[in-house]
């Protein structure tokens, strides 16, 4: 074998790898001028989140493959003016600015409020819409008529929005934070919360057609939606400003908004803003001191989230361990029907995603008259799901005990039940401890899924803080450390316990 050749070849390979890596990581910076790139490729890549995104951008319920919404029409008009085509880029709303910075798309246009805390990271165009925050209550409820009445109430809002900050600054309000726009209105009609406080377009679209809900009070806290571009794309921002101006003057913007029932007198203010943006944000509630990057300020919120995570994990694991044992025993020793029921339970719970199970528990069950609190739904959802896995662990443990043990017990006059309780289970449980601890650690991490049903646990706390401060890295490390700090002692303890219980390792 020619070692020298091998060596030079490996070096070559390494170089190729490195250069591939280099080009792929620098991709976002390769186009210094996004405007030029858009014009030369003839494509404008638009980042948005269509999930529950009406009336901004959403999938037409009649033709689910088609995107509709006032922003779809706005972007189409912009692209037409630029003489290019639109390419869609679906991105979770929570991380839309982050993906913009990464270079996944050219513009982020999706009801993004122009606020000072976002300015260090992205550049905004002049506003394309004037929004205000609107209170929505149940039609039957007349306790709340203006923002001051929200004090002492449970209020739902969307996450990382001006409305959320306004609620927090008002104080004395229990704020329920949602990722999707549909869920707060659902929880409102189910009386899980007392009011929803969101941007007017959302309130109009979801609450106006619903006879159970009504809009109360005047819209408050006027603000602006702007198109976000990367910091260095000043040329693109200027071009977009010109186009917005043109669409305003020709009345096309008004036409689009009117079609969606969104045009109001407040939109006249759009004409006033020809200057760059800083001015639009002046009278907004200032939050910059709240989102200082100091870690110590975030820690209490994260620790509170961690406490919720621990609570949910422990309670749902207790449910899983108890229910799992019942399932395993009915599957092994029950009559035919019980066996079928527990087998079906195990297969269904293992064969469907936990996320869907949580949605059904929280948003589906109210349709048949069962309304669970988020906490109860989280524990039931996780516990019932994990019970299916624990049942199989128990079953394997029970089946691994030699048949002779049962026979000896029976021949000593024990009933089957007594033999199971005194002889088989005590031996089987020792075997199940290590895999169950593993499952507990897994459940501990899976508990982050319950954030979809408005539970603010550790992961949710992290994403709220991180998207508010754009500090994904530092906070991410801290959050990961918190998770590790909680799960590692657990696995150490499990190892100790396992050693203590091991049959062949006993002290004489």
């Amino acid at each position: 074998m020619n070692y020298k050749l091998l060596f030079t070849r490996s070096i070559l390979l390494l170089q190729i790898c490195l250069s591939v890596l280099y080009f792929s990581t620098t991709n976002s910076f390769a186009h210094q001028n996004t405007l030029e790139k858009v014009k030369s490729t003839g494509v404008l890549i638009w980042g948005f989140d269509a999930e529950g995104g009406a009336p901004y951008v959403f999938h037409d319920p009649k033709h689910p493959s088609k995107l509709v919404g006032f922003e779809v029409e706005l972007v189409a008009a912009i692209a037409r003016e630029l003489g290019v085509k639109v390419q869609h880029f679906q991105n979770a709303w929570d991380s839309i600015l982050l993906s913009l910075q990464r270079g996944d798309f050219d513009i982020a246009l999706n009801g993004i409020e122009i606020t000072p805390d976002k300015e260090p990271s992205v550049l905004f165009t002049r506003p394309y819409y004037v929004y205000a925050e609107q209170i929505v209550v149940r039609a039957s409820d007349n306790r709340i008529n203006r923002p001051e009445d929200l004090r002492g109430k449970k209020v739902g809002t969307l996450y990382n929005t001006v409305a959320k900050r306004m609620l927090e600054e008002m104080g004395e309000i229990t704020v329920n934070i949602y990722s999707g726009q549909v869920e707060p209105f659902k929880d409102l009609s189910l009386s899980r919360i007392d009011a929803v406080f969101v941007d007017l377009p959302i309130a109009s679209y979801y609450a106006k057609p619903n006879p159970q809900l009504r809009l109360v009070g005047k819209p408050a806290g006027e603000g602006y939606y702007g198109i976000a571009v990367r910091k260095e794309d000043t040329a693109l921002a200027e071009e977009l400003n010109k186009i917005i101006e043109k669409l305003l003057r020709t009345g096309e913007l008004q036409k689009i908004y009117s079609r969606w029932g969104l045009w109001n007198t407040a939109q006249e203010k759009l004409f006033l803003h020809e200057e760059p943006l800083q001015k639009y944000t002046e009278n907004l509630p200032s939050v910059s001191e709240k989102v200082s990057p100091s870690v110590t300020k975030f820690l209490p919120t994260l620790l509170k989230g961690a406490l919720v995570t621990v609570g949910i994990s422990i309670l749902s694991m207790m449910l899983a361990v108890g229910l799992g044992l019942i399932l395993a025993i009915t599957r092994l020793y029950g009559n035919t029907w019980l066996q079928r029921i527990s087998t079906a339970y195990i297969e269904i719970y293992r064969g469907t995603p936990l996320l869907i199970q949580l949605y059904i528990l929280y948003y589906g069950l109210p349709n048949i008259g069962i309304t669970l609190s988020a906490f109860a739904a989280a524990i039931l959802g996780l516990g019932m799901n994990y019970a299916a896995y624990e049942a199989e662990i128990y079953r394997a443990g029970i089946q691994s005990i030699p048949k002779g043990q049962t026979e000896a017990a029976l021949s000593l006059g024990m009933s089957k039940r007594l033999a199971l309780k005194r002889i088989i289970l005590p031996q089987a449980l020792r075997i199940t401890i290590p895999p169950m601890t593993n499952d507990f650690i897994a459940l501990f991490k899976d508990s982050s899924l319950v954030s979809v049903i408005a539970m603010v646990e550790l992961t949710k706390s992290y994403s709220i803080l991180a998207s508010a401060s754009m500090n994904f890295f530092k906070l991410g490390i801290i959050t990961a450390l918190l998770y590790f700090g909680m799960s590692y002692p657990l696995s150490l303890y499990a190892r100790k316990l396992e050693k203590k219980l091991r049959l062949y390792d006993r002290n004489p």
Partner: protein
């Protein structure tokens, strides 16, 4: 004490017993001998209901256990019958089957306290005297995995005796023991026999069988080929296959 009447049993249409009869009188010591697979163990296991059978019945101490194809078979009744039989008939297994998560003492008192409802203190003092009987009183607080095979089997015998049985079934009690431990277990069984315990033993220990038995039963392929006193069977076998079997052991 134990009557086996017209017993038929098959596994997946593979017949084992075809109308087998056997009477075991109170106080008798019956050894079942025969090649592996002849049905010795299965016959023992049928006697205390660890194996079911299709036809015939087994009567233990007046309690009748019917084959599952018999008219008198009654699922609810079987439960009670088995309970009564198992309380009166102890069984010792080839693999000892001690409970590994309990000490020797707890192995012995488990059933008396939980099944018979005897007080802990009484059960423990009984257990200690039983352990003395099998010469293992110093091992009361050991766990089964700390004992040799012979010691484990002696504990298993003590555990069965703690239920104060009227008969004992031994399923090849020395077959998984090292040769040097066989004697200590056989000695314990001999003691038991000398006290008049009704005993049925499946075994390959021919000299032991000839020593202690009142009756020897030679089984082959589920059939009783010879049944008689040890003297008749070992010194005057009538059946050719019996002779062939013995010659392999007497070499």
């Amino acid at each position: 004490m134990i009557e086996i009447h017209n017993l038929s049993k098959q596994y997946d249409n593979q017949p084992l017993f075809k109308g087998l009869h056997l009477n075991i009188a109170k106080g008798s010591v019956v050894t079942l001998i025969g090649p592996s697979g002849s049905g010795k163990s299965t016959l023992l296991r049928c006697m205390n209901g660890l194996e079911s059978f299709q036809e015939g019945h087994i009567s233990v101490n007046g309690q009748k256990l019917y084959g599952i194809h018999e008219q008198n078979y009654n699922k609810a009744q079987v439960h009670l019958t088995l309970k009564n039989i198992r309380r009166k008939v102890g069984m010792v297994f080839q693999q000892f089957n001690l409970f590994p998560h309990m000490t020797v003492l707890h192995n012995i008192i488990e059933s008396p306290t939980h099944v018979l409802g005897i007080s802990q203190a009484e059960a423990e003092s009984n257990a200690i005297s039983l352990l003395q009987k099998v010469h293992l009183e110093e091992k009361a607080h050991s766990y089964p995995d700390q004992l040799s095979g012979g010691e484990q089997q002696r504990v298993a015998i003590a555990r069965s005796l703690a239920m104060k049985p009227e008969a004992m079934l031994f399923d090849e009690p020395t077959s998984s023991l090292d040769p040097e431990m066989i004697e200590e277990v056989l000695a314990v069984i001999k003691d038991l026999v000398s006290e008049g315990m009704t005993t049925v033993i499946a075994t390959h220990e021919m000299s032991f069988a000839s020593d202690v038995s009142t009756d020897v039963v030679f089984l082959e392929r589920g059939e009783i080929l010879e049944h008689g006193s040890p003297k008749d069977i070992f010194y005057n076998p009538k059946n050719d296959r019996m002779r062939a079997f013995l010659s392999r052991f007497m070499k």
